[in-house]
């Protein structure tokens, strides 16, 4: 297989010189024989995504006989992968109208493959104990009153608002400015460190105001309450600098590369059919995070217990 | 007879815009002043000499006198600033790079103070290097190299690496390497000054032997007067880049042109170098002499016995010509005079 790839690449270079330049997708063509080609799944950096990918990869590999390659990529980079041929599918996409415009409409290297069945919610949260102690804290208008509670070593004398991974799309800095909040946005660097901070906040009753989202396994274990921001209206987040409203609700969907979709393999059809609930995802996420299982073990457990859910996804 | 090497008006000036110095007023400045005025260093100043085929020509001077620069100018290892050089009648400065390389490959070889051996090659391949770069086949160059190693007395050391040999042996390798290409001229740049005195003497003997056997033209650089006197047919004394005197050892010791040379040769035992012609006196009128005269080329020391035992002065002759006579007085003067007790 690899030697074929080498040969293909070599001949490509020669032939391309003859007929005028190399495009960005050159050299990425897969051998188009009847064998089941490797499915390249992007893995975005949050556990819910990983749960989707774990189950999809498990069924593709173990039940359908496809080789699967998982690639740890941040969202934007995963989209670039459609262009280079490094990525066949993204299996939990949060909105990204700009990327859709670039890669689906303009470059025509990707296509939408329908919702995952999960509803996405992004918001500002505090641990439940705080709402008992400070009942009015769940309204953003009162946040300044409590800013002192949230001071940390990182927050420059203001209250700390804890955000996550740099690759997440957020409006938090704009919101802090535009809502005139006395807070500093501090980036923890990853989903896992937000979760850790949240757990500590609950366990040790430490104040914490943070960026969080559903579906999310943690909600099944501990309670966190969303802070009310000005209601989202269509288009209120159009100018990222002037945002002063809450995050919209997302319908999470799947994206595939054009090439992968056009080949219309059973793997593609399977990914197209994939659809489950937030609860399903939270179960697998919990396996992954708290039960010490790796991707395959977690997926195997869920697949064994939910045959009725996934059987219909597999094309006959 | 055409000289093997002829050097005329040779200048080497280091520094910025060096080419303006020779032939201008700057050329007459003393070294230090030239340096202060222009930042240039005149290493070789207006040097001319000729080397005859088969001759051993020694260039002698203190360190910094420009002798190493001079010898490197001969094959343009250092590019001369001005002047003429010819080797075997062919002007060297006009040579194309290719012809110059050819000269270095076939006609002129060099032996260096610090040997310049290639540490990553065995002795055999070091000696064969010159042939290798000429494209000689491996078998042929190894045969020749083995032969050369035998000639310098290194049989059986072929497969050692240079750093496994003593300094003297390394320099023998250097010598063999220079001989391997069968050049007409051998240049020696202070080849033995890095060696221990005993080994140095061996090596000097070796050079004399080789010169007798292979009869090449030798240009030999040294700062060691004894070495110069032992080896040289003629000696050139260099000082601050200028040629002070060229002559046979005898001429240098017997008739130094200035105090510099005189100072140089001051410690030389005159009786070892000078011949009888340097100490003859005119016979007194009616003076009786020994029957058998001495030839004028006899070194003083070799005549001591006869002169001291003779009852009368002995005549010194050049063929038929009578140069004068010597007796014990001249002898004794010559034997003690080389040590001036009082500084001049």
């Amino acid at each position: 297989m690899r030697s074929i790839r080498v040969a293909v690449a070599a001949t490509l270079i020669v032939s391309l010189t003859a007929c005028g330049g190399a495009t960005s997708g050159a050299g990425e063509d897969k051998p188009s024989d009847g064998a089941k080609a490797t499915v390249n799944l992007a893995i975005n950096p949050w556990v819910g995504y990983e749960a989707n990918a774990a189950v999809i990869a498990y069924i593709l590999e173990k039940k359908m006989g496809y080789p699967v390659e998982k690639k740890e990529l941040k969202e934007e980079i995963a989209w670039q992968g459609f262009e280079t041929g490094e990525v066949d599918a993204i299996v939990e996409n949060w909105g990204h109208p700009d990327l859709k415009k670039t890669y689906i409409e303009d470059k025509k290297v990707a296509v939408e493959v329908g919702p995952t069945g999960n509803d996405g919610i992004i918001g500002w949260y505090v641990p439940e104990w705080m709402t008992q102690q400070y009942p009015d804290i769940t309204d953003y208008k009162n946040l300044n009153k409590y800013a002192n509670l949230f001071k940390t070593s990182e927050s420059k004398g203001k209250g700390q608002f804890l955000a996550g991974d740099p690759s997440f799309v957020t409006n938090d800095e704009a919101l802090v400015t535009n809502l005139k909040l006395d807070y500093t946005v501090v980036y923890s660097g990853s989903e896992a460190s937000i979760i850790k901070a949240a757990q500590q906040a609950t366990a040790q009753k430490k104040p914490l105001l943070f960026y969080f989202y559903e579906p999310q396994w943690l909600f099944a274990k501990e309670k966190y309450v969303r802070v009310k921001l000005p209601t989202y209206t269509e288009g209120c987040d159009k100018d990222p600098k002037k945002v002063a409203c809450d995050y919209p609700d997302y319908v999470l969907d799947k994206i595939a590369s054009k090439k992968f979709a056009d080949a219309n393999s059973t793997a593609y059809q399977f990914i197209k059919n994939f659809k489950w609930t937030n609860d399903d995802q939270n179960i697998v996420s919990d396996y992954l995070t708290n039960q010490g299982m790796d991707d395959d073990q977690a997926a195997e457990k869920w697949v064994n217990e939910h045959e009725a859910t996934w059987k219909p996804w597999v094309p006959a | 007879m055409t000289p093997m090497i002829a050097v005329a008006d040779l200048w080497k000036v280091f520094g910025p815009r060096a080419e303006r110095v020779p032939g201008s007023a700057l050329a007459d400045l003393p070294r230090a002043e030239l340096r202060a005025r222009t930042g240039c260093l005149a290493a070789v100043r207006d040097v001319s000499f000729e080397v005859r085929p088969g001759e051993v020509f020694v260039v002698m001077g203190l360190s910094g006198s420009g002798k190493s620069t001079l010898v490197r100018c001969l094959t343009r290892l250092i590019e001369p600033t001005s002047g003429e050089i010819s080797i075997g009648g062919e002007p060297v400065r006009a040579m194309t790079p290719k012809r110059l390389r050819d000269l270095r490959r076939r006609q002129v070889a060099m032996v260096f103070q610090h040997f310049g051996l290639l540490p990553h090659r065995q002795v055999l391949d070091n000696v064969a290097y010159g042939l290798e770069i000429q494209g000689v086949t491996k078998a042929e160059r190894h045969r020749k190299a083995t032969e050369m190693l035998a000639l310098v007395g290194l049989d059986g050391q072929e497969h050692h690496y240079p750093d496994q040999l003593s300094g003297g042996m390394q320099q023998r390798v250097g010598l063999a390497r220079a001989l391997a290409t069968d050049p007409e001229v051998l240049l020696f740049d202070e080849p033995f000054s890095a060696l221990d005195p005993l080994i140095r003497r061996d090596m000097q003997a070796e050079v004399r032997r080789l010169h007798a056997e292979v009869g090449k033209t030798l240009v030999f650089i040294t700062h060691d007067l004894a070495e110069a006197l032992t080896l040289g047919d003629r000696i050139a004394v260099l000082r601050d880049g200028e040629l002070v005197q060229v002559g046979t050892p005898e001429e240098l010791v017997g008739a130094p042109v200035d105090s510099y040379v005189a100072d140089f040769v001051r410690d030389v035992p005159r009786s070892d170098v000078l011949t009888l012609r340097w100490i003859v006196r005119d016979p007194a009128p009616g003076e009786l002499v020994e029957d058998v005269p001495l030839p004028h080329g006899t070194v003083i020391r070799d005549a001591v016995h006869r002169v001291m035992r003779a009852e009368r002065p002995i005549q010194v002759v050049d063929g038929e010509k009578r140069l004068g006579v010597i007796d014990a007085d001249q002898m004794l003067a010559a034997l003690v005079s080389h040590h001036r007790q009082v500084p001049a």
Binding site: V6, G81 | R104, M110
Partner: protein
């Protein structure tokens, strides 16, 4: 004049060093007064002109410019001849190289590759190294990281091949052709102070994501060392040998191939060694732009704060680093020993047969007994978090409160022009006006990029980190210099620490301190202390024994000896350590953006993970480079060594 003529090396350099040293002695008191005046002036100016430290706009002109560059590239990637005939071919060529290397390594199979690496180690570096390589590569299988390790090896080797192909000829030219050397020097200087992070975004812009971009980024990171050390090796070839070969009529090419290169081969082997080590540490980081291998495991584990999983990958990286390092250093050492050719031939022959036989055997690495450190390490981390939480949190808060925050708020509220002026003034005082000019221009450039606040935050973190690094490094270094037994014990630890890729150092820091700026500081300290210790120790040990003897015979106490003799005389070593340390610290603090250190490092990561932030990310990368140049130039005056860094 085209026949090879000889020049005398060395003379100029000495002269220059002497010049640079001369004025410093005389003006010491004057400089001290000037320094005091400047400090007072700066404080007054700061108090008068202090700003409120408003956050950076996210819409600076520079960001828009970079965004427009990105848009142009995106739009023209498949149409512009620059890409069609240039960049895209480079990408294809590198991909071909990677595929060939990959096909080769995977083609050998598990048993074949283990045998091949062991055999190479055996033949090149002796049986001890062979055994080490054998066990090391088996360990990849045992850790369950075989494929990842091989992928990392593939990328490393590809990048090293490229670096050698490009770097060795350039190094030779730099050593032999004056203008090439003079042109390359500043370029290499900048390349070497460029933190790894700054490369990534431009790489993805030109070469997209994936192995080719990763290999090229790695090559850019590693090739300065290849060039520098090659040039050093070539220029160190004894002139006598070259002269002798010239006198025998060698052509230029013969001089190079038969004299210079073979005589520099020990140094060349060292160049390859350094190239491999640098490449390995960079390859791990390129996981961020979709390079496969162990870096993926580490990135993944960092995102999940799963220190145990990262530990496994870290162990594999360290093993790979140690094996490659030992093979190449010992091979370099062996080049000095003369072997009988025949025994070598026989060894090689047997090795080849064994490798071929092993390649035919199919062993699945997963069938080896498996072992993982993940669970125990995670337990340990859990325990530490539980029991040490107050202590670690205390240290973190203390440092943040009393060092980091005050410094950061001063820097952040300093108007940019005052900062530039201060840099220029102090730079002139410390490093001369030329260095000061470059440093001041860099500072102005940072302001022009529109990332002033973030740059100053990063700078504050860097300064605190370098302060702590120097305190720790100097104490340990001095201690080692005065206690031989301790030094012997510490040396292997330093050796190991210097072979590890920088990424690995994030792990213990994260385990202890969670995600914060202080985490980045801790990682930077762990990263930079070993070389500082080394330089300080050498500096103190290099103090001539006669001086020490004289001081002792005058009746100095050990403390007086240290403060009045050894430390002042080791000044050069200390300052060099500060210069090297500061560049390493900057590189690490920026990587700390991945673990909550924010500021420029965060901007870079955000830049290549979010489309809207691309311009800002690229600007941040540039700001990091400028910050690096600024810090390097300001401390450059401390020493005048132009030798290879790191």
């Amino acid at each position: 004049m085209s026949a090879p003529t000889l020049t005398r090396p060395g003379g100029r350099v000495l002269e220059k060093a002497a010049e640079a040293d001369a004025p410093r002695r005389g003006g010491a008191t004057r400089r001290r007064t000037a320094g005091t005046v400047l400090i007072v002036l700066a404080v007054v100016a700061y108090l008068v002109f202090r700003t409120d430290g408003a956050p950076d706009s996210d819409d600076a002109a520079a960001f828009r410019f970079f965004d427009s560059v990105r848009d142009w590239v995106d739009a023209n990637r498949d149409t512009s001849p620059f890409f069609l005939y240039g960049i895209n071919y480079v990408r294809l060529g590198v991909r071909l190289l990677v595929d060939v290397v990959q096909a080769g390594l995977y083609g050998l199979g598990f048993a074949g590759l283990v045998a091949a690496v062991s055999a190479i180690a055996l033949v090149l570096a002796g049986w001890r190294t062979g055994l080490l390589a054998f066990l090391g590569f088996l360990a990849f299988g045992v850790l369950g990281l075989w494929d990842e390790s091989v992928d990392t090896l593939v990328l490393t080797l590809s990048a090293v091949l490229l670096s050698v192909l490009i770097g060795v000829p350039l190094g030779v030219l730099a050593a032999r052709v004056r203008w090439v050397g003079a042109t390359l020097r500043p370029v290499l200087d900048v390349m070497q102070i460029m933190p790894t992070f700054a490369y990534l975004a431009p790489m993805t812009l030109l070469f997209l994501i994936g192995e080719p971009a990763a290999v090229i980024a790695t090559m850019i990171y590693a090739v300065p060392a290849t060039i520098r050390i090659t040039a050093l090796g070539i220029s160190e070839v004894p002139p006598t040998a070259v002269e002798a070969a010239t006198a025998l009529g060698s052509t230029r090419w013969q001089l190079l191939s038969k004299v210079r290169l073979p005589m520099a081969r020990t140094t060349l082997a060292l160049a390859v060694n350094q190239t491999i080590m640098l490449a390995l540490s960079m390859v791990v980081i390129t996981a961020l732009i979709d390079a496969p291998g162990l870096g993926q495991n580490i990135v993944n584990a960092l995102e999940r704060v799963n220190v145990g999983a990262a530990f496994n990958a870290g162990v594999a990286i360290v093993i790979l680093a140690v094996v490659l390092d030992r093979i190449t250093t010992n091979a370099a050492r062996q080049t000095r020993i003369h072997h009988a050719r025949r025994s070598r031939l026989i060894q090689t022959g047997i090795a080849i047969v064994v490798v071929i036989a092993a390649a035919l055997v199919t062993i699945n690495p997963e069938s080896l007994p498996q072992w993982s450190a993940a669970a125990p390490v995670n337990d340990l981390v859990g325990w530490i978090e539980l029991h040490w939480f107050d202590a670690t949190e205390g240290i973190k808060n203390r440092v943040s409160e009393f060092l980091l925050n005050p410094l950061e708020s001063v820097l952040v509220t300093t108007p940019w022009w005052l900062f530039v002026a201060a840099v220029a003034a102090f730079g002139t005082l410390v490093s001369g006006w030329r260095a000061a000019l470059i440093a001041a221009l860099s500072a102005a450039g940072i302001a022009g990029l529109g990332l002033w606040q973030h740059s100053m935050q990063t700078l504050a973190t860097v300064l605190v980190a370098i302060l702590l690094t120097m305190v720790i490094g100097v104490s340990v270094g001095v201690f080692c210099a005065r206690h031989d037994r301790l030094a012997t014990a510490v040396r292997p630890v330093l050796d190991a620490a210097q072979t590890m890729p920088s990424f690995v150092y994030l792990l213990p820091a994260v385990a202890l301190f969670g995600n914060s700026r202080f985490t980045a500081i801790v990682a930077a300290i762990i990263f930079a202390v070993p070389p500082v210790v080394r330089l300080v120790e050498r500096g103190v040990r290099d103090v001539p024994p006669t001086v020490v003897e004289a001081a002792l015979s005058a009746g100095s106490t050990p403390r007086q000896l240290l403060w009045k003799v050894q430390l002042p005389m080791a000044r050069g070593g200390l300052l060099l350590a500060a210069n090297q340390g500061i560049v390493m610290v900057l590189a690490m603090v920026v990587v700390g953006g991945l673990v909550g250190a924010g500021a420029l490092g965060y901007d870079v990561v955000a830049g290549f993970s979010q489309r809207e932030l691309f311009g800002e990310g690229l600007a941040a990368g540039l700001a990091i480079v400028l910050l690096g140049i600024l810090l390097d130039r300001l401390t450059q005056g401390f020493h005048d060594s132009k030798g290879p860094r790191r």
